[in-house]
């Protein structure tokens, strides 16, 4: 038997589900044995058993366990016969069936130890075959498959996995979030104690305990974050079939390649990432990759490569969708944008490449001449960007005409906890997700220049628009100061500076959604509870950048 690496990695999953199917079959079988009499109930049970066996058969075949697959098939045919003729549900049938189930369990156990093992089901197969031919012989054979003690090993079998409702994990995560918050509260308490209590030893003992709690809370959080992790493989694999079907439909020859599919992501990310990836892949198959003839004339291999990769980068997950298709030409994009009235000639000239690529994320923007069923007219890419942004993530495009396109999606490790830069504005504390912060600087007010569209600064030869957060949020009157603190942020290829009153520092925060009752909140993506129990609002960088004047082209219709 040939074993590839991929199959071994699936073994555990296979064994788990197989064991579940076996339990289901066994329970249904017992019900069948006890509740003989009413015809329809039995038929339902038989159908249920058949369904489970069928899945088991399919899975076994996929894993390459041909012997097991064959045996389950035999079992299936016996059952099908019984379904047609309920009279065959006699004691011989049940005995033989239980014995068969034990044999399967036994086989599964052996496969767990050595997947390459060749299995022998000849005895059990014979008994089953006898059932279908002559009952009398079957009854004789019944003695042969007498109860062996080992047959019930399945009862005492220990499982290493446990299925847990995700909501329970979420609750756990919430509680840990609370713990982290109160841990911070403990720190400030300690500082206060130091001022008023004279007993040195007591203070030391207190801070020691505090530190231990900090450490344990951290470990606990990390452990729970790990429990929530799933390999992105589960998402990637869904695309195999899609790409196969799509490429046939389009007469294209595409090979889908995965890289880093073992990368683990928080379940909340796994759940949400499917849709944006789907759009990107459809886009690549539809618009990016050429048909084989075209590729040949271009001197490319006839088979196009569509590559999905995943990996970690510091505190982020990077997922890329890359094709070696026709790529995008910046000039064509600009031309199209001008024709459709998204930008004017002058803007097109000054637009840099990165910004030009971002044009494709505009609603109703597409360079494709043909309207296709799968990706329509560029519908989808704006959705992709919206989804990614809503996770505090970013999406970037890199493309070379004739060589291909690469979309890079950058997401936080978990959607629940992020690192943020805490700032103070008009007496309120706000959190700016660190993923979007480039740097923070202190500048003299003379470096801020007033232009028609608002305030700007020059930072290393680049002009950046500025937003005063107090003004943006309509908080207390903006006061002009000698020096200003500016947080340079970026998202989706745009950059800008946010003026704040004070920089407080970095902190890990637990993101909490804002109630829909509050309505659409401009510039705010959520809230978090601080160490002292107060709430701090989380800044939505991309929505603030979108209102900045320079590079405001995206909002223009």
């Amino acid at each position: 038997m040939t074993m590839t690496f991929d199959i071994t990695s699936l073994l555990e999953e296979y064994l788990d589900t197989a064991s579940e199917h076996m339990d289901a079959v066994e329970n249904a079988l017992m019900e069948l044995e006890h509740g003989a009499g009413d015809g329809t109930a039995e038929e339902n049970l038989l159908t249920f058993i058949l369904g489970n066996l069928h899945t088991l058969k399919g899975n076994s075949g996929m894993m390459g366990f041909n012997h097991l697959q064959q045996f389950v098939h035999t079992l299936e045919s016996v059952l099908k016969r019984s379904k047609d003729d309920l009279r065959t549900l006699n004691s011989a049938f049940f005995e033989a069936f239980y014995a068969s189930l034990n044999a399967i369990r036994d086989a599964l156990k052996k496969l767990a130890e050595n997947p390459a093992l060749s299995l022998d089901f000849s005895d059990e197969t014979m008994v089953l075959e006898c059932l279908t031919t002559k009952e009398t012989i079957a009854l004789d054979m019944q003695q042969q498959v007498a109860v062996k003690k080992e047959d019930f090993n399945a009862i005492t079998q220990k499982s290493n996995t446990l299925k847990v409702n995700f909501q329970k994990l979420d609750e756990l995560m919430n509680l840990v979030g609370e713990l982290v918050i109160h841990r911070t509260a403990l720190n400030s308490l300690e500082t206060k104690l130091k001022e008023s209590v004279k007993d040195r030893e007591l203070i030391e003992a207190f801070s020691e305990s505090g530190q231990m709690i900090s450490k344990i809370a951290n470990d606990l959080r990390e452990a729970i974050v790990k429990v929530r992790m799933l390999p992105i493989k589960t998402v990637f694999q869904r695309f195999n079939r899609l790409v196969r079907d799509l490429s046939r439909q389009k007469g294209k020859d595409i090979s889908l390649v995965f890289e880093g599919e073992e990368t683990e992501l928080d379940k909340t990310v796994i759940d949400e990432i499917g849709e944006p990836l789907l759009h990107l892949i459809r886009n690549a198959v539809d618009h990016g990759l050429e048909v084989p003839e075209e590729r040949r004339t271009l001197g490319k291999p006839a088979t196009g490569i569509l590559k999905l990769t995943a990996g970690h980068e510091s505190n982020h997950i990077i997922i890329t969708v890359e094709d070696d298709g026709r790529g995008m030409s910046v000039d064509k994009l600009k031309e199209s944008a001008v024709t459709k009235g998204f930008i004017d000639q002058r803007e097109a000239i000054i637009l840099n490449d990165q910004d030009a690529y971002q044009l494709i994320f505009l609603p109703n923007f597409s360079t494709s001449r043909e309207v296709t069923e799968t990706s329509g007219r560029g519908i989808g890419l704006d959705v992709v960007k919206k989804t990614v942004t809503s996770f505090n993530g970013t999406i970037d495009v890199d493309s070379t005409a004739g060589l291909g396109t690469r979309f890079t999606v950058k997401l936080p490790l978990t959607l629940a906890i992020i690192t943020a830069l805490m700032v103070e504005v008009s007496g309120e504390i706000f959190a700016i997700p660190l993923s979007g912060v480039h740097e923070s600087i202190k500048i003299g007010s003379q470096d801020i220049h007033e232009v028609a569209s608002g305030e700007i600064i020059r930072l290393r030869d680049r002009l950046l628009p500025l937003v005063r957060l107090d003004h943006y949020f309509g908080l207390s009157n903006p006061t002009a100061r000698e020096t200003e603190y500016v947080v340079i942020v970026g998202a989706n290829g745009k950059r800008g500076g946010i003026i704040v009153d004070k920089l407080i520092g970095q902190q890990e925060i637990v993101i909490k959604g804002m109630d829909g009752y509050l309505g659409e909140l401009r510039g705010i993506s959520g809230g978090t509870v601080l160490g002292d129990g107060k709430i701090s609002l989380i800044i939505d960088i991309s929505s603030i950048l979108a209102t900045m004047k320079k590079g405001d082209i995206y909002d223009r219709k």
Partner: protein, 182 residues
Amino acid sequence: MTGNNEIALPTSGLAEDILARFMDSAQQDIDRRQHDEIRVEAVVHHLVTFKLGVEEYGVEIGSVQEIIRAADITPVPGAPIHIRGVINLRGKIIPVVDMRVRFTLPGGEESDQRRIVVVEAEGKRLGMLVDSVSQVVKIPAGIVEEIPEEATSAAENFIKGVGKLDGRLVIILDLNRSLLLT
């Protein structure tokens, strides 16, 4: 009643029959009276009352989750005008409605009497910022004047009824409409 019975006694017919009918009607009478008593008992309004300015308001106790001190309300820029901000209630972020603003009363003064009444309505948990919380009262339905929906002006349609209690008036709120949840 016995007198009635005597008058109704016919000259002919079985006395037992008549007696049975009389007992039946008497039983029905008792049943009805008991029933009425139960009904009155059931529609007692159990209210948490609070003050806004000079008026006293009440909300059904069933929808009140808890009452907390009004502290650390974080303002939310861009939220509707009647929302004072958000608070942290054991790790959950809950919007707080300034009831004075909602009922277009002049702004009240900061005082340590101010409370947030946390209510649950329409599956949402919201806080109501009030001047002070008075007490929990029972007002029998009989002395509550229900205000018919069509009779109320748009500005007053958050009122469900007005109850009398020891000579005071308590305005019973319709939570959904008071909090603009409909």
